[in-house]
Symmetry: C2
Subunit: 450 residues, 2 copies
């Protein structure tokens, strides 16, 4: 659970203090993440900040954090799910919070412009297939990267390299699609320092790969290094291994060592399972583009954040309902994280706001949910979880930048123990109630059931 | 698949003709729903209309249409998923297109204001639990519905009725929660002609129901009729049956026949399975509020609409890729629906735009996907599926209203045969290629694989 960046909400209309967990910090559903005074007026209720600005962002950030845990720290994760979002604004939310959750970049340039998300992308199949090969480039001449010396006809040079490459790969020089090669040349002429190849518009092995190598080697002669290739179909892991082998062999054959390590990007409906395979030991995949799976969170496409009344005028309120799990915890509350002497996380405790905070080194009696008896805990450290973030309409401290919140996500997740962090059947982290809060729950229950 | 309402896109910047299926008409993924000329400039590509304005709306409308098929025509379906959407704009899309797909109303008042979606809602638990029962209404006097005669103290009258109701139900008069009753009285004073009760803030049987009856009967004496009750927890179907029994018995006991048929609304994470149960024969549920399940489409939270290049300057283009199912169908195309002499749907046929349209009564040779041989069909009727909707930046005909598109959804779905319309394992509706289109696919395949 992550709390969102303030984005344009008229905070100065809110006169009451608001407490929240720091954005980027994980929290549990049972812990109230955002406390909103009931008399803050319209716009802050279910249809306002808690209802609209918390669940979607928190869901996407949580999902992105899961994907980052699976991918490990080295793989570059590119969010490219704009077309699967609920319209443009849904896409902006998704791009912003998948970055916060641990992605490296987004293909959504508006998220770059408005939120500072690093943007990245590759070329489209429609760009590649729009060329037939009979096109004449307006200006095929490219100057060397160093800026000295005469320009060179890149299309002609690529054609020469194609013959070497096809001979090396055992392919006929007619096999690679001329339109695909024309597209690569056009892209390279426009972006010689950012040339990349989308390899699977026709056949990767017989067309995309030799065409990419021909253009990359022609560019290389002029001092430019290709930045990558992308695969969007077929067995991505297997093809990446084969392409890396071809890159290594060609690097040796043509004496261009940088070719060995040209990044391989993959995409194509990558979900958690596919990601785990692509991120396995020995994988030659470097960049993983994920769209649908990060944006729509197919494993759990909604997050059950709710806006509930817990107190009016200092008096606690509780909803009992017919389902025990839909009952609310009454009263304005504070939340603390209890840690052991080795810094390990013991549990979170919810208590009434007016109770004194738990003290490090002192024994505390608490009630696990549904327990018949309290248990005791002696924390070595105590961290308050809710910070005062808004008072009299003013922010109490500057909002962290998106990149700072993103770093906090990784830091705070690293503090979770492995059994709580694992993605399959994680151990349940305990969130307990203070004795006074438990007593209040009991008394409101008793009062409603005379 | 449904195509979205135009909403603010600068259509007059588009000089080329655009063809599309009529909004509200079902179509199949294989049928191109929207043809966009490649030189229509930026904004109309993957990140523009086809990418952002088609998939999300079509997904929600399709999902809503499924839910309407399950619910049957009689139940009122209320969309209430704003807080589960991808931010406010995602919520506006979801509310608009769940209405188009067959819902009756939305709790999203912005969708009402901007798109004309009928708005509806109920009261919130936080409203009910904000009352303790010790409040003094600023003005407890209510005039009769007919406007004649003196005002009556509604709170006092409800208290009198509470005693009758509790005696009738065999409850102690202290059992119903006084705060819940105070909330109902306050709501009734504000909306005497739209009084409804949310029954499950405490206990439905021992509190919500007697409090509702007390206030509804007090209002009834003044000539007002309560408009409904809502349940948000527990076994909704079972409780609805019990509540209807109580309504019938109370209607007889207190001689108020209208009480028998007070609508019962239910909500609480209702998915397709739960909806089927609530809509079964003999169910006493009248209104079903659905949020998460209609907005996030949990069974399939994304729709694979893609923007693909099919022709450049009249020349067909085709993406082959490493996955046969990711191949595109080349060329600018037309689509027709073929019907039998009894009006039954036979199949859809895709052909090249320049081919003559299929003729009713004439035999046609077509290729089912993946077939080794063509088959023949003799349609009794032929309907073109793509209409010219934009020419030289001008709409060719007025856009239908949202309500008109909503009606078309139900009409067009009613034309589908039961085996195609059923929700579990539907029969696959055939979309075939014309002989010339199949020949073009074969020739581009052969050209790419010499």
């Amino acid at each position: 659970l992550f709390l969102p960046q303030g984005n344009g909400f008229p905070l100065d209309s809110v006169q009451d203090p608001i407490k929240a967990t720091t954005e980027g910090h994980w929290a549990f559903i049972a812990t109230e993440g955002l406390l909103v005074p009931v008399n803050s007026g319209p716009g802050l209720g279910e249809g306002g900040v808690p209802g609209l600005e918390v669940p979607g962002p928190s869901l996407v950030a949580t999902n992105a954090a899961r994907l980052r845990l699976i991918a490990g720290p080295e793989k570059r994760l590119l969010e490219m799910g704009l077309r699967r979002a609920q319209g443009p604004d849904g896409g902006l939310t998704a791009s912003t919070y998948s970055y916060l959750g641990g992605f490296d970049s987004s293909s959504n340039v508006l998220a770059g412009q408005l939120r500072g998300v690093p943007v990245a992308g590759t070329l489209a199949h429609s760009f590649v297939t729009s060329f037939s090969g009979s096109e004449v480039p307006p200006d095929p001449m490219l100057a060397p990267a160093a800026g000295e010396g005469p320009g060179v006809d890149l299309a002609a040079k690529a054609q020469v390299w194609l013959e070497h490459v096809c001979a090396h790969l055992g392919l006929g020089v007619q096999e690679p699609h001329p339109g695909e090669r024309a597209a690569f040349v056009a892209y390279a002429l426009a972006f010689p320092r950012a040339f990349q190849g989308l390899l699977d518009s026709y056949s990767v092995r017989r067309s995309g790969l030799p065409n990419f190598l021909a253009v990359a080697l022609a560019l290389g002669e002029l001092g430019y290094r290709a930045v990558g290739v992308r695969l969007d179909s077929g067995d991505l892991l297997q093809q990446a291994q084969e392409i890396r082998k071809v890159f290594r062999a060609a690097a040796a054959q043509f004496q261009v060592p940088w070719l060995e390590s040209v990044p391989i990007a993959v995409s194509n409906n990558i979900d958690e399972e596919a990601l785990a395979r692509l991120a396995q030991e020995g994988s030659e995949v470097n960049v993983i583009g994920i769209g649908t799976s990060v944006v729509t969170c197919p494993q759990q496409p909604s997050l059950g954040c709710v806006y509930k009344l817990v107190a009016v005028g200092g008096q606690p309120r509780m909803k009992l309902t017919e389902d025990p799990e839909k009952q609310t915890l009454p009263g304005s509350k504070a939340a603390f994280r209890l840690l052991g002497s080795d810094g390990s996380l013991l549990m979170d405790v919810l208590q009434l706001a007016e109770e004194p905070a738990p003290q490090a080194g002192q024994e505390l009696r608490v009630w696990p949910p549904g327990a018949q008896e309290p248990c005791t805990v002696r924390p070595a450290q105590v961290e308050p979880l809710l910070r005062l973030c808004l008072q009299q309409g003013q922010l109490c401290e500057p909002l962290p930048s998106l990149a700072e919140s993103r770093a906090l996500v990784q830091l705070s997740l690293s503090q979770l123990s492995p059994q709580h962090r694992r993605l399959q059947s994680p151990a349940q982290y305990q969130v307990v109630l203070s004795e006074r809060l438990q007593a209040l729950v009991n008394s409101l229950h008793a009062r409603a059931s005379p």
